[in-house]
């Protein structure tokens, strides 16, 4: 069981190292397959670990294995860090929560890496790409498998690093480099607040194991720790107010976007809250702030998505919005709901990105949806797979999102008056999801191909893409359709039971069957209403988009968050830096250097006179010096 955990973690790392050692000696295609194989081996390890935990849980329920509480196992390789009584081991945790994340990360991640083989074919630096992407998967696995908070933070930081490397993969594009830096800086902010939270924990409990989260802290301490963790989660999961890096991250190659949005990275915040739920339950206010952040983000992101024209950015905002749902789910205490939505979201979001990637690839890099009309005629496979993903995203039964989104919205009903606000946000978000998703769909796929599509479309040997690209899209198309059937709330909830030993749903987040059914009905009706509106505006053209210049400007400028951060952070620091250069660097730092050089030259000019080049002068100096020393001794005596 723990062997599976180690295999899962180390396989992608081994792949990265192999590719790096191989260098240019390794054929490009070999690098691609090493990365793919390593991630699929990791998936094998995850399955192994899953079967181990599953078997152990079975034994618990039979009562034959009472020593094992069904909460998984922590394995320590060696003591990594020791300082006095503070002791951190190189630990992995293999329990229901981490195995679920391992399966998602390595499974969906493996499909995405396989897809990259076709997508990145012919790029100049394929080997570097595959080394990075295997490293990205490794970092995320370290994050979800880390057996104590410090290991989790190490994975957290490495995920930030590898996302930086991959977003800026096309480093000759200034916009990509800017986007990479932005992502890194915003993530570093979250890393810092997490580190501060850990310092508080170390100061008061002298430990960073997951067990200390159950320890009783004073309410101020618990609030501060939870706030620090929430800062990290918000930064990594691109929630308001640290969301602005995510759309810019679309500068990376499309499979990287799929990986960031579906399998790795942005889901880390949800995992973190589920993993450290004990501390959040001690600081219930902060947990509700997390839920509120999610509710706000899902609305804001949905509104911005309405006016985006770049196919990848629409999907990016939909990710922000869906992560908002997950935050809402874990924030009110329904950890299993959030994790289940994380899983189905991984399926359909990876599917949407990779289908969009097929379109972008076939249209020679075009990403503007206004040029793509009628693409479905030439790319039927992409069209149907995208439709499956879109329906899953909106939550139309029987697609995956239907099963996972509704329990989240329903779970807000019993928590108090603010629950109704969350509920309204969730329902409004469902409407927006239907609208923006099918705006994208109706603009891109149905109808007669536009002149642009006719001119630029090129197939790949008679197919819509290389087989390495079509197979993952097909597999995820199936998963996005049936992947939600694993849990039919409230009738059959294996995932909730699976996670119950580690992250049990809070009683307030439990809802009655009536509430559940009613919410499902409302959500589906609202989602379909969104689809209908999109159809009326963008396909049948019976309605026109209302001309609301204020709102349009607000959405197109992404609620002015970028503008605001520019004014608050960038402009003052740039002003200070310019002032420092003018007042300090140029007159003081640079001038000191010149002065020192001049002084050295002058002194040298004086001393050089003694260097006559004549041997006898030197000997004379030597003899005179020696005589002087002897004389000095004699006098001293």
């Amino acid at each position: 069981m723990t062997g599976g955990g180690w295999l899962c973690l180390l396989a992608p790392l081994a792949g990265t190292i192999l590719i790096l050692l191989g260098g240019s000696w390794l054929p490009r295609i070999a690098a691609a397959w090493i990365a793919t194989t390593s991630v699929f081996v990791a998936f094998g390890g995850a399955v192994w670990a899953f079967l181990g935990v599953h078997g152990a849980q079975q034994n618990v329920s039979l009562g034959s294995f009472p020593a094992f509480p069904g909460r998984g196992e922590i394995t320590t390789a060696w003591t990594w860090l020791q300082s006095g009584h503070f002791n951190v081991g190189l630990q992995l945790v293999v329990d229901p929560l981490s195995t679920m994340m391992m399966l998602i990360v390595s499974g969906v991640g493996g499909l995405i890496v396989l897809y990259s083989i076709g997508y990145m074919d012919g790029d100049d630096e394929e080997r570097r790409y595959f080394a990075y992407i295997a490293f990205f998967v490794f970092s995320m696995l370290l994050l979800v498998e880390g057996g104590n908070l410090l290991m989790l933070l190490v994975g957290w930081g490495l995920v930030g690093l590898s996302s930086y490397l991959l977003i800026g993969f096309w480093h000759e594009r200034p916009s990509a480099v800017r986007a990479a830096k932005k992502a890194f800086v915003m993530n570093a902010f979250g890393d810092a607040t997490m580190a501060l939270a850990f310092f508080i924990l170390i100061a008061h409990t002298n430990s960073l194991s997951f067990g200390v989260l159950d320890a009783h802290l004073s309410s101020t301490q618990a609030n501060l720790v939870a706030l620090g963790l929430l800062g990290g989660a918000v930064a990594k999961s691109a929630q308001i107010p640290l969301q602005t890096w995510l759309p810019d991250a679309m500068e990376g190659p499309t499979p990287v976007s799929a990986l960031i949005h579906a399998a790795t990275m942005v889901t880390a915040g949800v995992y973190l809250i589920a993993r450290t739920h004990a501390i959040f339950e001690q600081a219930r206010t902060i947990e509700l702030i997390a839920a509120g952040t999610g509710a706000l983000t899902l609305l804001v992101a949905g509104l911005i998505a309405l006016v985006q024209t770049d196919i990848k950015r629409v999907i990016a905002y939909s990710t922000m919005s869906q992560i908002g749902y997950m935050f809402l789910g874990v924030g009110v205490g329904g950890y299993a709901n959030g994790m289940f939505h994380l899983m189905t979201h991984a399926f359909f979001k990876a599917l949407l990105f990779m289908a969009a990637g097929l379109a972008i690839h076939a249209l020679a890099g075009e990403q503007d949806i206004r040029n793509m009309r009628g693409l479905g005629r030439v790319m039927p496979f992409t069209k149907w797979c995208f439709l499956a993903g879109a329906l899953a995203l909106v939550g139309v039964p029987p697609f995956a999102g239907f099963f996972s989104k509704d329990p989240i919205i329903a779970s807000t009903l019993n928590i108090g008056w603010y629950g109704y606000i969350f509920y309204a946000c969730g329902i409004a978000g469902a409407f927006l999801t239907g609208l923006y998703t099918f705006r994208l769909w109706f603009l891109v796929f149905p109808g007669e191909p536009s002149p642009f599509v006719r001119e630029h479309y090129h197939d790949h040997h008679g197919r819509e893409g290389a087989w390495t690209m079509l197979v993952p899209v097909g597999v995820l198309g199936v998963l996005a359709t049936v992947g939600g059937w694993i849990q039919w709330p409230p009738l059959w909830e294996p995932i909730t039971h699976w996670l119950a030993p580690v992250a049990p749903t809070l009683p307030v987040a439990e809802v009655s069957s009536t509430q559940e059914y009613a919410t499902s009905a409302v959500t589906v009706i609202v989602g379909i209403a969104g689809i209908a509106l999109a159809w009326a505006i963008y396909s049948a053209r019976r309605l026109t988009v209302p001309a609301a210049p204020f709102w349009r400007r607000l959405f197109e400028n992404k609620f002015y968050f970028d503008w605001l951060y520019d004014r608050i952070f960038y402009t003052p620091s740039a002003w200070v830096a310019t002032g420092l250069r003018r007042e300090f660097e140029e007159p003081v730092v640079l001038q000191t250097g010149t002065d020192l050089g001049d002084a050295t030259l002058e002194t040298g000019g004086l001393v050089r006179r003694i260097q006559t080049g004549l041997l006898r002068t030197y000997v004379l100096f030597l003899a005179a010096g020696a005589a002087g020393v002897v004389l000095a001794f004699l006098i001293a005596k």
Binding site: V607, R608, R609, I610, Q611, T612, G613, L614, L615, R616, V619, L620, A623
Partner: protein, 102 residues
């Protein structure tokens, strides 16, 4: 103890050292300069051994051996330079070899 007093030895050594030093300062031929240097080193040896005997202490003799090793190395380098100068058909006059002036 046989032989003259230690002062005599030291006097001879001082005279030898003076001759060597004068040779280094005055002569212009590189070979003679090297020769004079050897003279100075050996005057030092003479003084060391004389005093070693005077004080009944072997350290001075060991010092003299070390000085011989240094002298041998110095001759290697010095003669090597002379040969190199000769190969390049340069003058052996030390006063003309003054390119390294500041």
């Amino acid at each position: 103890m046989l032989g003259p007093d230690v002062a005599w030895y030291l006097a001879v050594a001082a005279v030898l050292f003076g001759i060597g030093a004068l040779g280094v300062l005055i002569r212009r031929n590189t070979l003679i300069v090297l020769l004079s240097l050897e003279l100075m080193l050996n005057s030092g040896n003479l003084a060391l051994i004389a005093l070693s005997r005077h004080w009944h202490n072997g350290a001075g003799q060991i010092f003299a051996l070390a000085v011989m090793a240094v002298a041998a190395s110095e001759v290697c380098v010095g003669l090597g330079l002379v040969v190199a100068l000769n190969r390049r058909q340069l003058s052996l006059d030390v006063d003309t070899l003054s390119e390294l002036r500041g």
